[in-house]
């Protein structure tokens, strides 16, 4: 079976350095005394702990949940007691701490599996997706994208691409998985195809892993599923990038603004597929992973299956690390990995490699020289960008030019920096510029929102003012009308006559004290109520003015009674 393959755009050929870590079979790491399990191992909202400090948990027991497929469930990697739920240093490129559940191992490693679903070919898609979600399976190739979320696409999918390229130098965790667990992997492909409703699998493996290719091909022949195509691809970095592998296997480019599902393709890393398979067939959640330990500062480079939450130091010791030789600790490979300085950080679901090189092996970056625009970076760029131009724009802070030169299509693979003869850390410039532009966009959005809020407030105030003015005008109008009406009725009356009448009315008012008395009563009632309120508030506040206030109330009550009396006397 020969499948056509296509050429990767750009690419570089760094020394592979994979043989060191494939000399030994996959070892099992010891269960550490204490595990630190971060709630943010995946891309998406952090998981929510559902256990309490002091609670006993079993291996595989769910300890944190997620509301949607965008999140990920987290499980106890071994049985023991929850020691703490708090922020701990996190094994992450950001270097930011993360909420973590600390478990003290009881040494029993006592399992609590989910019910096995051996009849998965009869299960419907939603059931399987839910299980993959609840088993906490996330992309184990490095990105940590929740697997269920990716598999739950609503677009029609015809092809599953299995990513066994593992193009980063040094890393061999996928290679060892393919070599040692090939049969399980072929079954995982069938499971993934079933979940996706895909009709074929393109299984890409770089040609620098002959043992893995042989094992996979043998397992494939044994299973005899002709929907699965094992495709051996040439070794070139970054062939294992998702867009790159799809290009190599299908010749299609994932649109810049879209996803592979737009092409009817979903890609899964081999380790992710196996984790999903084990979650379904054995009810085992994702609590461990195969990690490559390599680099010249390790006496026994190898692959180790480690529990999530195991401190790096435990694995490093198992691989015989010579601290005095270690120059840096890289999580991931030499092209895209990040350095850590704390050996107590935990292994996470995405820790595919711990690389501990000596200074001679990976020397520190030499000082950058001038860019001579040689264009070697552009030759290496898998996204067909012009890194040398982006570099000038980045240095000049020309955001619009960076965007028109498609900075955001940069996958940060580092091929440009690798090939730059002047040692310019190009990727660093792009990362910084991307962050600046994102910040600028956020700022602009915020400014726009503030502006809109301000304008809305101004409009509201103006409206209120206008309403008030209108009301005032209406009142003035009404008053004027009344005045006019009064004037029209009064204008016929002679002013002198009116004055005489008013004087007469004043004289007679003495004879009509009833109205005065009524007014007086109303006034007194008002004052009495006010005094009573004052008294009540003084009481509740515990004021020392209670006595005079009480006196005033009494006096007013008396006056009111007298006034009522008087009014009553004069009918």
């Amino acid at each position: 079976m020969s499948d056509i393959i296509f050429k990767l755009t750009g690419g570089v050929h760094p020394p592979q350095n994979k043989h060191q870590s494939i000399q030994r079979p996959i070892a099992q790491a010891d269960v550490p005394a204490q595990l630190v399990i971060p709630m943010s191992q995946h891309i998406g909202p952090p998981s929510t702990p559902i256990v309490t400090v002091g609670q006993r948990v079993l291996k595989g027991q769910c300890i944190a949940t997620a509301e949607s497929f965008e999140g990920a469930f987290v499980h106890a990697s071994t049985s023991g007691k929850v020691l703490a739920i708090e922020e701990r240093p996190h094994n992450h490129a950001s270097g930011m701490p993360a909420l973590s559940i600390v478990i003290e191992s009881d040494g029993n490693d006592e399992w609590q599996r989910m019910p096995a679903m051996e009849n998965w070919p009869q299960c419907d898609r939603q059931t399987l997706l839910q299980r993959i979600h609840e088993a906490g399976v996330i992309g184990m190739g490095g990105a940590g994208f929740p697997a269920a979320s990716k598999l739950a696409t609503d677009k029609p999918i015809h092809t599953l691409v299995m990513n066994g390229a593992e193009c980063e130098p040094y890393i061999t965790s996928d290679q060892m998985l393919m070599t040692e667990r090939a049969e399980e992997l072929i079954l995982s492909c069938e499971l993934m195809m079933h979940v996706l409703g895909a009709s074929k699998t393109l299984f890409g493996i770089e040609d620098n892993k002959p043992e893995a290719i042989e094992a996979i091909k043998a397992a494939h022949a044994k299973r005899g599923n002709d929907k699965i195509h094992i495709v051996v691809i040439p070794t070139v970095y970054p062939s294992g990038g998702s867009k790159q592998l799809i290009q190599i296997l299908t010749g299609n480019e994932v649109p810049s603004s879209g996803h592979s599902s737009d092409l009817g393709i979903i890609m899964q890393n081999v380790a992710t597929a196996v984790a999903a398979y084990r979650a379904i067939v054995f009810g085992e959640p994702s609590i461990s992973r195969i990690t490559t330990l390599t680099g010249e500062a390790l006496a026994a480079p190898q692959n180790i299956e480690a529990l999530v939450g195991t401190p790096l130091s435990a694995l490093l010791e198992q691989a015989g690390w010579q601290q005095n030789l270690a120059d840096r600790i890289i999580i991931g490979g030499p092209m895209m990995g990040y350095t850590v300085t704390d050996t107590q950080l935990p292994v996470t679901k995405t820790t595919n490699c711990i690389l501990v090189p000596t200074r001679a092996e990976l020397p520190p970056p030499p000082p950058a020289q001038a860019c001579i625009r040689c264009g070697l970076c552009a030759e290496a760029c898998p996204a067909s960008l012009l890194p040398q131009q982006l570099y000038w724009f980045s240095r000049a802070g020309e955001h619009d030019k960076l965007e028109s030169h498609n900075l955001f299509d940069c996958i940060e693979c580092g091929a440009c920096s690798y090939s730059c003869p002047s040692n310019i850390p190009l990727v660093q410039y792009y990362r910084a510029s991307k962050a600046e532009i994102r910040q600028a966009r956020r700022d602009a959005k915020q400014a726009e929102q503030s502006k809109r809020r301000f304008e809305a407030r101004q409009a509201r105030l103006q409206r209120l003012e206008e309403e008030k003015t209108a009301q005032r005008a209406a009142r003035a109008e009404a008053a004027k009308k009344r005045l006019e009406e009064a004037n029209t009725s009064a204008s016929v009356v002679d002013p002198i006559q009116a004055a005489i009448e008013r004087a007469a009315a004043k004289r007679t008012s003495a004879a009509a004290p009833a109205t005065e008395a009524v007014d007086m009563i109303a006034k007194l009632e008002k004052r009495l109520t006010a005094a009573k309120i004052k008294l009540a508030s003084a009481e509740s506040a515990g004021s020392d003015k209670l006595v005079p206030l009480q006196e005033a109330v009494d006096k007013l009550t008396q006056q009111l009674a007298e006034a009522q009396q008087q009014a009553g006397d004069k009918p």
Partner: protein, 330 residues
């Protein structure tokens, strides 16, 4: 022990800018050997004078600018400029012509613009043009190819530095072509200009070596030579058949030197593939136009400088299609 905390990538390729420059110098050797074989040892004297003057000038200006001198001298770029300039000059040009050229190339054309990577013009070509315009007599005195008594190193030194011996000069084949049919006999060799065909073959060889080593892509040189050939075919001189015209122009003057060592200077040329095709093609067409219709017998330096100016503009309009942006090939 403290662990290093740096960003990726942690691995780095083997190629360095200094190595690129060294390879370019290395690749000029066949051409230089041909120059020595055809014109005698004069070019070697020029090389030494140009190298000393260039490096001294570079060091002086770097220290004036407060830059780390040895760090920048180690990039070998000043040496490359010196070599390219020395090759361009007549082999028996007086020493001060070479010094003026080197100082102008490094001091003005390179360092005044900000040093390596910032110069809009190819420094060697800028200096060559300045010398050609300012000192036309000294700059057009090329020795006769394969002289009966070729100059040795001592005589060349005497001629260039002490100016004791008057070098025998003659018109170059391109001069002869310009002057007319009568003078052409004796100016043509097997395929190109008499003697010059060897020089061009030497630079072609060196250029192919650099291309094989991946120092530059094929786009600019092939485009320039193709354009030059096309123009020579379309508008041949009366003295030459169309096919002879093509070979004569490809293997005379600075054709190969320009195509492989001048227009491939990354700093001052277009950087995109399509841009390089346009850049090289226009230079080829301009070279022929000036040779055929213009006043100067050769024109590589002028053509290169004109297109140096256009390079940023060409780059702006020849951006390659970014991955995932439309036109997905299937």
């Amino acid at each position: 022990m403290s662990l290093l905390n740096v960003t990726s990538p942690h691995a780095h390729g083997q190629l360095s800018t200094a190595k690129v420059m060294q390879l370019v110098v290395l690749a000029t050797l066949p051409g230089i050997a041909a120059l020595v074989g055809v014109f005698g040892a004069g070019v070697l004297i020029n090389l030494v004078i140009a190298a000393v003057a260039s490096l001294a000038c570079e060091a002086a200006i770097l220290s004036l600018r407060g830059r780390p001198v040895s760090f920048y001298l180690q990039d070998f770029s000043a040496l490359v400029t010196a070599v390219l300039l020395a090759i361009s000059l007549p082999p028996y040009a007086p020493w001060w012509v070479v010094v003026i050229g080197a100082v102008f190339a490094i001091g003005v054309a390179k360092q005044l613009y900000g040093g390596l990577g910032y110069n809009p013009f190819n420094p060697a070509m800028a200096a060559y043009v300045v010398l050609l315009i300012s000192l036309p007599v000294q700059m057009t005195q090329w020795g006769a190819p394969f002289a009966a008594q070729p100059m040795g190193l001592a005589e060349a030194m005497a001629s260039n530095i002490l100016q004791h011996v008057d070098a025998v000069t003659s018109a170059t084949p391109l001069d002869a072509l310009k002057q007319g049919i009568d003078t052409l006999s004796g100016a043509t060799g097997h395929i190109g200009g008499y003697g010059w065909e060897w020089v061009n073959a030497g630079f072609l060889l060196g250029g192919l070596f650099l291309m094989w080593r991946g120092i530059f892509s094929w786009h600019a040189p092939v485009s320039m030579l193709a354009a030059l050939a096309a123009m020579a075919f379309l508008f041949p001189n009366d003295a030459l058949s169309r096919v002879d015209s093509i070979l004569f122009h490809l293997f005379s003057g600075a054709s190969m030197f320009g195509a492989f060592f001048i227009i491939t200077d990354p700093v001052s040329s277009a950087t995109t593939h399509r841009g390089k095709l346009i850049f090289g093609g226009l230079i080829g067409a301009l070279v022929y136009s000036i040779r055929h219709w213009g006043n100067y017998p050769d024109a590589v330096a002028f053509a290169v400088m004109l297109l140096n100016l256009a390079a940023p503009f060409i780059d702006q309009y020849t951006q390659p299609r970014t991955f995932g942006h439309g036109g997905t090939p299937s």
